[in-house]
Subunit: 337 residues, 4 copies
């Protein structure tokens, strides 16, 4: 950590600050430059809130050298993590394909889509039971019944199921019945929820918040891991920018950054990123080319009558041909579906 | 609502779509232009998800004319709402000053700050008991004990208390003891929490999410109001932009927009917006000049040793002189503290 | 174009506005809804500035249906444009690889890199002679001498040269000696420069501005084309967002959008987007997978001593192996290098 | 400057880098931490491009301590700069009001508006002669004739004139006839233009680019000042963010930041920031309250028929009453109109 101090500050004030810091067993190296006096802090600064020093009126700024995340940091865990989900894996040489409708609508729909995506090569079934919607007047999901139907689809296909949790009150049910619990972008900093999920050992699919920095995203993963649950998969799903042509802006460089900074697997959600069905295939190919560990794709047999997100869902036949193309690209990065 | 259709679309397909829409008792006006065929939908379109039409491959885009929010819409409620909080009001000709430390730290601290800010002119006491922190290793607040201490400070001063809720599990306690319940920026789209708050009649201070559009912010207020609770105060607290010199970018035009689009009072949080104590006074004056209905300001007697957010807290003496200046500016906008 | 009018507006005022619009040979369709009165304008509205209607105090908002660009619009030119640059092409089934150093530094450097990238498969040589730098104290390029050296590299390899223009005063020299003139992100809305370039018939590589919407980017292309020059290649090079880990955020969905909305070829610059050499290869692969018509990549034989942008340049041997991988991915999209 | 090095780097490589840096007369302080090896550079690092070190594959990141701007830096020029414009001043205890139409349209228009705004208290007349427009089909200004008309308005009122330059080719005319030359947001990084303006001694109104950081904005001022021209006024005019309700987001904290980091006066343009006439008055008051040194406001006698930006222009009578309110607020900050 580096503390930059106004050069007109009385030596006395600086000394008091230095002593305070040294009390925490940190060595302070003082450099007097032309423009500033600079304090270099050497030692274990990880429990210090760097911003707190900015409360001193003579401190110009504080610069952190070290990342604030520990358990998810690749520095201390150089190998890729591989997460096991009901016998299947995400991470390493595997390219995981998660597919299914935005919302579970009825038994016939979810079971038939599940069978279809499995046949095409999907390893996991997605489907929303509890739906976060911007409007209170929009369809909010089938809720508990939706979970029941997902279980039927799992029974029919063997595909592990992935679905979003919206409240701690549903945790027991999710732990019992869901194979990978999704934390949506809007709840990425619902810290109470993260802590509770950290106390389970369920695989967690942690979506990046709409305007979360990569560091904040990894800190949310740290919330889960610091409670004991190491089964975390990150999911890049587009960020909010000034561009409104697409629903969000897919940030594929974030996949590279997250994989460099942490050891966790990273999957990509091209459906929510673009918000337009006709972009999903091309963005899926790009995500695999950049080196993502998997994809989560919305597939619907009748998008025009879908109860939610029909505009960003692709039809089963397109999904089928897409998976074939993805296999070729994955092999260039030494991955296999 | 306006649906823009690719001009090469067979008439048959358009007719099917038009009939589907008409079934919902909506009149469709078809205009055939040079570049596009345009459908104008007239009638009650408020329950239609405009994006759903984009699932049709011949639909180029869908444009909403009407705002999706209803109960918070000024269109149907032209007068300003005034919210009553334990005998005091926010909205109308009142400029409400909410002040106090970021976190409640101990009895001496919260009681003395409460007395001090009251003397300077604050009408409400703020103080965090449950703290949302980016890092799991940062101070998370005194929690229940923090609420106990807030009650002591209220007993000593009579100031109604404002504090943040982070989980539905704490709702009963908050309803019993807190005068205005704050929903933080990170929970602005924690829809389960919003619905539960909507079932109470407690005043809710709804902070704008880090990257929430004004429309999304009002939709979150709609979540609360649609459950029955009309006591909502909006709070602009800075948005995330490309500029990193400040913690966030205070968006004062959002105050004007929110007050035009809705009838709810809007207060401003200059402390979180700037993230720097030396900006708080100037931004407070700007917020009052623009026409905000109140301010929520972090005040700490010893910012350098604060357990959180010391860098953005001002000292009681500066707060005292600030309130005097605010009174002059408020009077120009026909408001009084 | 749709004009939304406040429902309390006197009929008289609306009639005056309608008559004014009809004078321009536009048909106005009036719909009186519950919340608003809506005017639908049918006819040639392309020369009308939609915002101008917002000067009326009874107009709530104005919504454009049609894109404001014409000559670059795919609607009126459905086939892909293919641009010929000194005998080579960009667009269609060709994947164009443009490579070379950020700055031309000396003859030995530029000639040797040119030979190297040609051998690896590049079809064009890039190299900056006039450099836009944030700081006036940074290396500003070899200027005219840089152009001389580019010509030597062209003579030695036959590769057409691509370099950035920064001022109209250099136009004659560029038209004479440069094969494809680059307009940098910072000059995307230097309209005087665009107009002058539109009067030449030189191929123009138009980079997207740091925070330019896709529509603004296409409007800048329209500036060039409306003056007569149809040889335009668009270049996505990353946009500015809240995320600062990467220099910019590469927006691959913009490639898809620009190709859908316009008929122009689109290339991608992964070097400037990421600003980090170790991301360049992966992002290049993603760009080809998404369907870009080409890449412009910074290659330097000695990045550690480069006079500019060494941090985002890859070495010739990595470029060589990258091109091999790109060929495989390109073939999936029916493109060849 | 601080260079963070991967802890697995061979000592030999680090030594070579350290020696290279020391050759530039910079002292290097090496700290070996648990996670990283950190090099602290002490001395005159202002001519070093910090990013260049990131080209080394063992360098994790480079952190600058010092700001890259010198002549505009308040550190070396603690007093506020006051700029003299044809006998009037901007900066210090003066609140400068610049007002006038977006575009000069005809003699009657510009002269009558000039008289009107002068009477209300404006000290400078603005009016566009050369207009940067997103569309090549929009009105581009009266150009040279516009300048002629501005001179007539100046002759009639004595108000110094402010207008935008778009090309170096017009520089001689502007130096001769214009009192303060405006550099628009889109040209903030047109470095060739900045350098030429730096060679004059004309006052320059430098608008902040749409997505320019405060540091980039000050670096553009440094471009001008490093060529010898010290007469620079900064202008905050709104930045591009995700919010699209307003045309831009007015960033009033940037006024505070620019005034702290530099000694230059800062004025605010509420008209372009909001893009809506009904927000202009409130934002003007906020800008004065925050401590801006002036305002530049669009005033038009007939906004509904303005040739450009009518939607964001206020009428003379509203401007008149606004100036009265601004005087009261200015006095709180010890400023006078």
């Amino acid at each position: 950590m580096v503390i930059v101090i106004n050069k007109n500050t009385p030596q006395e004030k600086i000394s008091i600050l230095v002593k305070q810091i040294e009390k925490r067993n940190i060595t302070v190296h003082v450099s007097n430059g032309v423009a500033y006096c600079v304090l270099g802090l050497i030692g274990n600064t990880s429990n210090i809130d760097s911003h707190s020093f900015e409360a001193y009126d003579f401190v110009e700024k504080v610069i952190s050298v070290k990342e604030p995340f520990k358990m998810v940091n690749r520095l201390f865990h150089p190998e890729d993590s591989i997460v096991n989900i009901d016998g299947k894996t995400i991470g390493g040489e595997k390219l995981a394909i998660i597919a299914g409708p935005c919302s579970v609508e009825n038994e016939e729909q979810i079971v038939s889509i599940a069978k279809s995506v499995k046949k095409s090569g999907a390893a996991f079934l997605r489907g929303g039971a509890f739906k976060p919607r911007t409007s209170p007047y929009s369809f909010q999901g089938l809720k508990q019944e939706g979970l029941d139907l997902l279980l039927k689809a799992k029974a029919a296909t063997g595909l592990p199921i992935v679905t979003e949790i919206m409240s701690i009150s549903m945790l027991d049910r999710f732990v019992q019945d869901v194979d990978m619990i999704q934390v949506g972008a809007r709840n990425m900093q619902n810290f109470e929820l993260l802590k509770e999920l950290g106390k389970t050992n369920k695989p967690i699919l942690l979506k990046r918040g709409l305007s979360a920095t990569i560091q904040e995203w990894l800190m949310s993963a740290e919330y889960i891991m610091s409670e004991g649950n190491e089964n975390i998969i990150l999911c890049e799903r587009g960020i909010r920018t000034f561009e409104t042509y697409t629903r969000n802006t897919l940030d594929l460089s974030a996949v590279l950054a997250a994989k460099k900074l942490s050891h966790l697997p990273v999957v990509v959600d091209p459906s929510h990123a673009a918000g337009m069905w006709w972009m999903v295939e091309a963005l899926s190919k790009a995500a695999v080319a950049v080196g993502a560990d998997g994809l989560i794709i919305e597939v619907h047999n009748d998008p025009e009558n879908a109860l939610s997100d029909g505009e960003q869902s692709i039809k089963p036949e397109r999904f089928d041909s897409l998976v074939k193309e993805l296999k070729s690209i994955a092999s260039i990065n030494s991955k296999a579906i």
